[in-house]
Symmetry: C2
Subunit: 370 residues, 2 copies
């Protein structure tokens, strides 16, 4: 392998998650392991009941609300358990006891994971499924059979395994929209006030694994039943300002640093979205220019700006591609174990220069192996 | 405040949790933020599906089993959600549908928190409660009304708020024993093979907040019902080797470093137990020598070796004590918000020299304010 510095290796990390974080954030985290500015103690030893941590949660809540353009009618919670926990928490709080089915879109691997957990709690209707077409594209609005009486519509904005992303808000404005944005949260602007509940684990665009952000409308809290275990009760978590029990202090602090970076260095959501679009453009261009050597998994209109998923002609060639990429310092490029192939994840923390280097590698590899 | 270095400030952290970690562990964590040895990437950007992370989980499972003296009949899981999640997971998996009540000991604030979550899932019988006596002592064996038919007995080995700790194993060997060891896990040797399930969040003795260790007998898994949300199903978590979904990679890595430190530098559980006993002895001696100026909360026989909890004559004096302690660099000494007073937590990461410095401070303060 080429001799690269740790910072260079981190900059070439295309992992599907946990993903790369900005170098300036890593520098601050490194310092905080020994001493958090204005506190003087290690971030790993500061009480979650300290005034300092209360100020972290308060600033982070504000940063996220401001970045999303939401008003105080929304609460921001920091929970554990990943999107998987949300697959259960959402129907536990909003579907149990309902005679009317909640609607779910089944657009890929991860939205499929949400279904059995929802069915455990109440009736579920799949308003559209891409299963028969191999999850190669997303539905048009005309294809969706939406129910005005459903307690909510649940979908995933970006399917990391298949590399599919919605580039519009779907659903009806008179039915609560619940969206798993785990893999594109804070990666682009949007009409976030059209959602009743958004959740996102941190380990793609905004921090380390171990914390999940939930943004939800205050009025949705009033509709909840509340007869669930306390730690799975959104109302109890909101009442306790995310410190119902000891939260993942470290992970929350890292998200705070990332939101400051987004705000102060990355140009907010418009700035990061422009960068993310450019990175995706560079990679899809390399893919399209290969004249079929690289085959994209997703229909062109639904291509993800976060995960560029493709195959090569045969598993031998794919393995050689991965080996040569690793030799050049690129990492995290294996496709999800359920589909194989190659996946280049280009989350917020990845720089345009890394995408350009990888696109050059793709061009060169295609030329030599076509 | 005295001018102290970050390492000195960390060494004087008596927080009830998240607590202080050993300096050598912090040094390694700091390095790993930029580059994990043998991997070259930031610990925050390494996939949980990597071979490296599988080796972390495997080594950590072995380290914990060896430290506890348990054989392969036990599984070790790394979950999220803290002890609070376990308050629900235990009865969800082992009490739902049972006609016979599970037995619980109510010995203080935290064991009390487990009760309503258990009652939500099935019948509960409190086999002993210290509520009437203000949680000032623990039960003798003769005081326990144990039921041979109970699906399990649940208790907490160390109550952090009241500073009470069991110095023996309680319960019947023919009833599964389930113990919340969150605040004294890996702090002393014990007959751990007499327990069916042990759980402990990390943020006292073994790591940062955000990960919970569950050690359970393989045969207990067979008794579980399994009709619970997948992420709350011990069997599903065991089948997936703790990577059912993305685990808190960073926190698990820090625990691995702490177990290596315990094994290689701290003399294993006998070594750390001797150090912990000595720290407690030094502080309780200062308390007893004050001739009633400091009043210990716990009955002498049940004093905790982890949390030394006491009051001073009046809240003004307590505030002055806290202020002067802070000026001297000591932190984290406020008693739990439910009881007030002072709490000096002396977990694994705290050095004997710090306990001695604090004991001297106590002696001096008592002399000047008595």
């Amino acid at each position: 392998m080429k001799m690269l510095t740790p910072n260079q290796l981190n900059s070439l990390n295309f992992s599907g998650g946990p993903g790369a974080l900005p170098e300036t954030v890593l520098d601050q985290v490194r310092e905080a392991i020994v001493s958090v500015p204005d506190v003087g103690l290690s971030i790993l030893g500061i009480s979650h009941r300290s005034d300092w941590f209360a100020s972290v949660v308060a600033e982070l809540e504000t940063n996220i609300r401001v970045l999303l353009g939401l008003d105080k009618g929304y609460r921001v919670l920091f929970l554990q358990g990943g999107a998987t926990q949300q697959f259960s928490m959402v129907p536990m709080n909003l579907l149990r006891g309902s005679p009317v089915a909640a609607q779910y879109l089944h657009t890929g691997y991860w939205s499929g994971k949400a279904l059995p957990e929802a069915r455990r709690e109440g009736p579920v209707q799949v308003a559209w499924s891409g299963e028969a077409s191999g999850f190669s594209h997303l539905p048009t609005d005309a294809e969706l059979a939406l129910d005005a009486d459903a307690p909510y519509l649940h979908y995933i904005s970006n399917e990391t395994v298949e590399g599919l992303q919605f580039h519009r808000v779907v659903g009806r404005d008179d039915v609560p929209r619940i969206c798993d944005m785990s893999s594109d949260f804070l990666s682009r602007p949007g009409e976030f006030d059209r959602f009743s509940l958004i959740y996102a684990h941190a380990q793609k665009n905004i921090g380390p694994a171990g914390v999940t952000v939930v943004v939800l409308r205050d009025e949705l809290l009033q509709k909840m039943r509340g007869d669930v275990p306390t730690f799975l009760d959104y109302r109890a978590q909101a009442d306790a300002n995310s410190v119902l029990n000891t939260p993942p202090v470290f992970a929350i602090y890292v998200i705070l640093l990332v939101t400051r970076w987004l705000r102060d260095e990355a140009g907010g959501l418009p700035g990061i979205a422009a960068k993310n679009a450019k990175k995706a453009e560079v990679l899809y261009k390399a893919l399209d220019a290969s004249r079929g050597f690289y085959r994209g998994r997703a229909a062109a209109a639904d291509r993800s700006l976060m995960n560029v998923v493709f195959t090569l002609p045969g598993s031998d060639v794919e393995q050689r591609f991965l080996d040569e990429a690793a030799d050049a310092g690129f990492s995290g490029l294996n496709g999800h174990r359920s589909v194989g192939g190659i996946r280049a994840s280009i989350y917020n923390g990845l720089e345009l220069s890394a995408a350009e280097m990888f696109a050059n590698f793709m061009d060169d590899f295609a030329r030599r192996n076509r």
